[in-house]
């Protein structure tokens, strides 16, 4: 009995003090998981309409369209999103260093020029680090949010220990309506918690990974080893000082696809300086790897491949980041898995709210009744004279007078 009570106290201590913060992180994460779809719904200019069923045009066509729209701007990167969304050409100009040009990937028509923060970016930043600023290699907000995964994991373990024979919720679910908010909240908390075990395990395990990643970033422990920059002496020299030209983005993409035919480029980064590379990142069709797991680094001056990144050749530490994101975001199965993640996120959010309601009602009812409530019986399901009151469902922290 004492052990049971201790587990329950731990369950309360890891959940209740931060329930509102946890709930906020859950809700923002839920919205972030479908932020692309919300953008599609809210902004017609972000839709990649393709009524004629055209094949996707190459990145060079998107760049050409963006460059025609903003002739003075410089292309710094290209993003390929889901099939139903526009591709994004990133550009920099004198007045707008971060411009996003939305291009229909099938018709190569420019649909919007965006100079501000996108809804997708805002939601991910709000969820990921509560908009706390980044100090070089760490953010307090990122630590706070990822540390919640430890509390979530502890909450799951203690919750399952406290809720004896929790597996009954799978075959005989109990959800008593019409007997008050506390009974309903308690039943929902246990029922939804048990049915969400798989989701809580995934979210908290990937969250723990993000916490570990934050520590590694903060301590300059490299997660991946990008190739060293080009040696200065290997850069070409122009006898008359005329600026030299790099190979084009399309040439770089072609070289990457020759090397990795299965590569589906989702992020093309132009060199940031003359000793940098073209970075062509993409998925390789494997379900549980993210859209940046495969990469080809290309010398922009002679087109040689300097380095490649292939998930099948990675060590476990290198693989983890590419496995964690699809699992945490729910992107591995396209729209279907995103919707499942969104629903599960809502259920997880409701766990913190229902847990708080149970606690609040118990504490304040106890205060009102001046401790005249029955002591915890250890039963997991209501029995005897309190069968309908719900009082025996949860261990009571105080002593019976």
């Amino acid at each position: 009995m004492k052990t049971q009570r201790l587990w329950f106290l731990v369950h309360g201590w890891v959940s209740l003090p931060v329930w509102i913060l946890f709930c906020f992180v859950c809700i923002t994460g839920t919205i972030a998981s479908v932020s692309h779809e919300i953008t599609w719904l809210a902004n017609p200019q972000a839709r990649a309409s393709n009524p004629e069923g055209l094949p996707a045009q190459p990145p060079s066509a998107w760049i050409s369209a963006a460059q025609n729209a903003l002739p003075e701007a410089q292309v710094t990167g290209v993003m390929r999103l889901d099939d139903y969304l526009v591709s994004v050409v990133l550009m920099a100009s004198k007045d707008a260093p971060n411009t996003l040009v939305y291009v229909n990937p099938y018709t190569a028509r420019v649909q919007e020029i965006n100079h501000g923060l996108t809804f997708i970016g805002f939601m991910r930043s709000l969820h990921g680090w509560l908009l706390f600023p980044w100090q070089a290699s760490y953010s307090i907000g990122y630590y706070l949010v990822s540390a919640l995964s430890l509390l979530l994991l502890t909450s799951l373990v203690t919750g399952l220990v406290v809720h004896k024979k929790f597996w009954r919720s799978f075959h005989t679910p109990v959800l008593r309506r019409g007997q008050g908010l506390r009974i309903l909240s308690g039943d929902w908390h246990r029922l939804a918690g048990v049915w969400s075990i798989w989701f809580i395990v995934i979210i908290s395990a990937t969250g723990v990974w993000y916490l570990a990643k934050a520590v590694m970033w903060h301590n300059d422990i490299p997660l991946e080893s990008p190739p060293a920059p080009l040696v200065l002496s290997s850069l070409p020299v122009s006898a008359d000082g005329t600026p030299l030209r790099m190979i084009s983005v399309q040439q770089a993409v072609d070289i990457a696809l020759q090397k990795m035919p299965a590569l589906a480029p989702s992020w093309i980064a132009a060199p940031e300086h003359n000793r940098d590379y073209y970075r062509i990142l993409g998925g390789n069709g494997a379900m549980f790897y993210d859209a940046y797991s495969s990469a080809v680094f290309i010398n922009p001056w002679d087109g040689t491949i300097v380095s490649t990144q292939d998930p099948s050749l990675m060590g476990i530490v290198q693989r983890l980041p590419h496995l964690a994101d699809p699992l945490h975001y729910g992107t591995f199965g396209g729209l279907a898995s995103k919707l499942v993640w969104c629903f599960s996120g809502l259920v997880l959010s409701s766990l913190s709210i229902s847990g708080f309601i149970v606690w609040y009602q118990r504490i304040f009812r106890r205060q009102r009744k001046k401790y005249q409530i029955p002591y915890y019986t250890g039963k997991t399901r209501p029995t005897g004279r309190n069968a309908n009151s719900g009082e025996t469902d949860w261990p009571i922290a105080g002593k019976q007078p």
């Binding site: 931060v18 509102i20 920099a92 004198k94 070089a136 920059p229 200065l232 005329t242 600026p243 300086h273």
Partner: protein, 157 residues
């Protein structure tokens, strides 16, 4: 006995309430950071200087001292060059140190970004002293090297 239990229970509840309030107040932080992100404090750029055919104007990204990174310290700046000048630069580096540096072989303090706005994590000492200067070293496509420097305060601005 009853009183002791009552006291223990209420102090535990009080602590939970305090932690709860603190975590709730934490949610004001995103509001503040959104506001401060939309209303950034302008930072004064350093004086424009000429290096041969180029002109450059560095601006510190913040008013904080250098931060640790890797086996040294860094201070972030943005640099604006004269119109169309960036494409004539083969490589450029920024460093805070007392004497003029040679062109580094590694990428420490290398300028990067677009032709309109360059960004750099300049190499710096842990504490900037009065002898330190902000050194910009440029090599053009002919291989010719140009240098200039600015005085810097203890915060590197």
């Amino acid at each position: 006995m009853k009183d002791r239990a009552k006291t223990a229970g209420s102090s535990s509840t009080r602590l939970k309430r305090i932690l709860y309030t603190a975590s709730g107040l934490l949610l004001l932080a995103p509001v503040y950071f959104t506001w401060s992100g939309l209303n950034p404090t302008p930072i004064q750029p350093l004086a424009q200087q000429a290096l041969g055919p180029f002109t450059a104007t560095p601006t510190p990204m913040d008013e904080l001292p250098p931060y640790p990174q890797g086996n040294g310290f860094r201070k972030d700046y943005s640099v604006v060059f004269c119109d169309d000048c960036t494409q004539h630069i083969r490589v450029a580096h920024l460093a805070i140190q007392p004497n003029a540096p040679t062109l580094p072989e590694n990428e420490d303090g290398i300028l990067h970004g677009s032709r309109y706005l360059q960004h750099v994590h300049a190499t710096a000492p842990a504490q900037v002293v009065s002898e330190d200067r902000l050194w910009l070293t440029i090599q053009d496509w002919k291989g010719q090297v140009w240098q200039t420097s600015w005085p810097v305060s203890s915060a590197g601005d």
